[in-house]
């Protein structure tokens, strides 16, 4: 009964506060070389009653979560300048702060706000960025993420991915049975939306390259079927229901094809479905298991897992009928590869004597970097800018993220139940 009550509570909260976060973020390993930055709380520039401006606090958390920055905690700020006229760069410099962000908000009518912010280089004493943005009252949080993106890009030279989404599967088990949910939230766990609820397993969500759809596997008919679903309308399409396996759907980067694993012709092999005319072609043909395809940026070649050598290893195939090339030789278990958007790195599940971990491999040099400690890590997914890798910690049934260089780690803990199979969205328009 208690669980039912908790569930009701959650549902109510979801309705009442749309920004309710299903995941808590904990930084589990910081870096010493993060860049100190002071973000002054945004000021309200109007005689009108001040609205809730706490959304802008996410600029600090975003930058902190990137592992590249060390924002000064709000209670440790030297001062809170509201004007940029006579900023005391010298004292910020003495305090060891490299960059300073000052911002303000004023009403612009019709539940609209004008948000202004400036980024300063404390050492040079000059402005690096200055923007005026218009935001809906309901989307201040997204505007704040956008500001984080702009600051991140200015200072790291890399496009920010704070305004992207993550899809994942949650499972809660009780006496009445299991409840599986496919959810999409902001990357900090806020604004979760349930895409599908089922008493049977939901697996392997994959984003379309334009970020408007998800493909996934659902066992709702007591057998595996692959669906694609339009996120804005909820409209969905069954794309595969062959006898046997229907799994591991992945959209090609050009959006025209879906690679998947089917066993209709014997055992697990990889097939490619051309979405335009539903033409299905077989890519691999082997008595061993071939599964977990991931596309290279050219939308032609793929990396996949095969146990044709006896144990699961990664292979690359350049097209149907072409002999796959084995990529991994180190370790007895390498699987579930995802290729970074630039095609330079693989993130995958790597097993050594202490368990299953997330590793990357440089596709040019073949060098493997083991990034996590295990013991049951799985489902790696790159941020669209390649800076972080999201994955699932099987032992804790939680999500975690690690920077691609392994130096910075954080955990995203579900407030209840298990959370798994995170998939980072592409950049969204």
């Amino acid at each position: 009964m208690k669980q039912i009550l908790t569930l009701c509570c959650v549902l109510l909260c979801t309705w009442a506060i749309p920004s309710y976060a299903i995941l808590n973020v904990e930084i589990t390993q910081g870096t010493e070389d993060a860049l100190p930055i002071a973000i002054i709380p945004f000021s309200w520039e109007s005689e009108e009653k001040q609205p809730d401006l706490s959304s802008f606090k996410v600029i600090s958390t975003d930058l902190l979560r990137s592992g590249r920055f060390a924002p000064v905690p709000e209670d440790k700020l030297l001062s809170r300048p509201t004007s940029t006229e006579n900023l005391d760069f010298k004292s910020w410099k003495v305090a060891g702060v490299d960059h300073l962000v000052v911002g303000s908000v004023r009403p612009a009518g019709n539940n609209q706000f004008a948000v202004k912010f400036q980024l300063f280089d404390v050492f040079k004493g000059e402005q690096l960025l200055g923007y005026s943005l218009t935001s809906d009252g309901d989307s201040l949080r997204y505007t704040a993420h956008h500001i984080s993106d702009l600051i991140y890009q200015q200072l790291t030279g890399q496009k920010g991915a704070f305004n992207t989404k993550v899809a994942y599967v949650t499972v809660s088990r009780d006496q009445k049975g299991d409840s599986y949910k496919l959810e999409v939230s902001d990357t900090d766990g806020f604004n979760p939306v349930t895409i599908l609820t089922s008493s049977q397993p939901i697996m392997s969500p994959s984003w379309s390259p334009d970020g408007t759809r998800l493909a996934y596997v659902s066992f709702e008919k007591r057998r595996a079927q692959i669906y694609t679903q339009i996120l804005s309308s909820g409209e969905r399409l069954k794309v595969s229901e062959f006898r046997g396996l229907n799994g591991a759907p992945v959209w090609s980067p050009d959006g025209k094809k879906l690679a998947m694993t089917l066993s209709k012709d014997g055992n697990a092999d990889i097939y490619v479905l051309r979405l335009e005319d539903k033409k299905l072609s077989r890519l691999t043909k082997h008595w061993g298991i071939d599964t977990e395809p991931s596309w290279m940026p050219d939308s032609q070649s793929l990396v996949f897992t095969s146990n044709r050598s006896g144990k699961p290893q990664l292979y690359k195939i350049n097209g149907a009928g072409i002999k796959p090339r084995r990529l991994t030789f180190e370790g007895s278990y390498n699987s579930s590869a995802e290729i970074s958007k630039d095609g330079q790195k693989l993130a995958f599940v790597y097993k050594d004597s202490s368990g299953f971990k997330i590793a990357t491999m440089d596709l040019e040099t073949g060098v493997i970097d083991v990034l996590t400690e295990g013991p049951l890590d799985e489902s790696p997914s790159f941020a669209p800018n390649g800076s972080m890798i999201l994955y699932a910690e099987g032992q804790r049934a939680a999500l975690a993220a690690v920077s691609s260089d392994g130096r910075f780690k954080q955990r995203l803990v579900a407030k209840e139940g298990e959370v798994r199979e995170p998939t980072w969205s592409p950049f969204l328009k």
Partner: protein, 180 residues
């Protein structure tokens, strides 16, 4: 039957390859294991003769009779393996003969793995396990129409702990009978 021919072919191809790299030892082993099913299934016959000595061992309700070995409907596997272990070969043989004697019965083979490794690989591994059982059942006369294979991979564990004891319970194929 076709599967056996394919497997035999695979063995012949492998046998014909000069000097397999050591990395491929396991592959060769997997094939050999599968081919051995035929031999062991034949062995199972003598065991089954003893079993037949009972009173109508393959009568329709034997699967629900706690005193019949047919009431045992779970087959366990080794880590990352889809070969049917020695101790389960007789049991699978008997279920195969039961299906051959009761053509109006249907059997759903639900394949499962433990939680280790990646989910989609585990779905395929669990499918291989269920297919291995299916092949042995058909060798004993069960027909394709009677058997349905569903793979759940690691999605439906019976034990939720993260240790070998739980994992060994989860690496299984469940036999679920239904009247046609």
């Amino acid at each position: 039957m076709r599967n056996y021919i394919l497997l035999m072919l695979a063995v012949l191809i492998l046998a014909g390859c000069p000097a397999q790299p050591t990395k491929d030892d396991d592959a060769a082993k997997a094939v050999t294991d599968a081919v051995e099913t035929g031999k062991l299934a034949a062995d199972g016959k003598s065991q089954a003769t003893a079993f037949t000595a009972g009173d109508e061992p393959y009568r329709k309700d034997a699967i629900n009779d706690a005193t019949s070995p047919l009431s045992q409907k779970v087959i366990y596997f080794d880590y990352n393996s889809s070969s049917i272990k020695e101790e389960y070969r007789d049991l699978v043989t008997w279920h195969g003969r039961y299906l051959a004697s009761n053509k109006d019965m249907k059997l759903r083979l639900e394949g499962h793995t433990d939680e280790r490794g990646s989910r989609e690989y585990n779905i395929a591994l669990a499918d291989s396990r269920a297919l291995a059982v299916s092949r042995m059942l058909m060798f004993q006369g069960a027909t394709k129409k009677q058997i349905e294979v569903i793979s759940y991979g690691e999605e439906k564990p019976v034990a939720l702990e993260h240790n070998e004891e739980a994992w060994s319970k989860n690496r299984r194929v469940q036999l679920v009978y239904e009247a046609m």
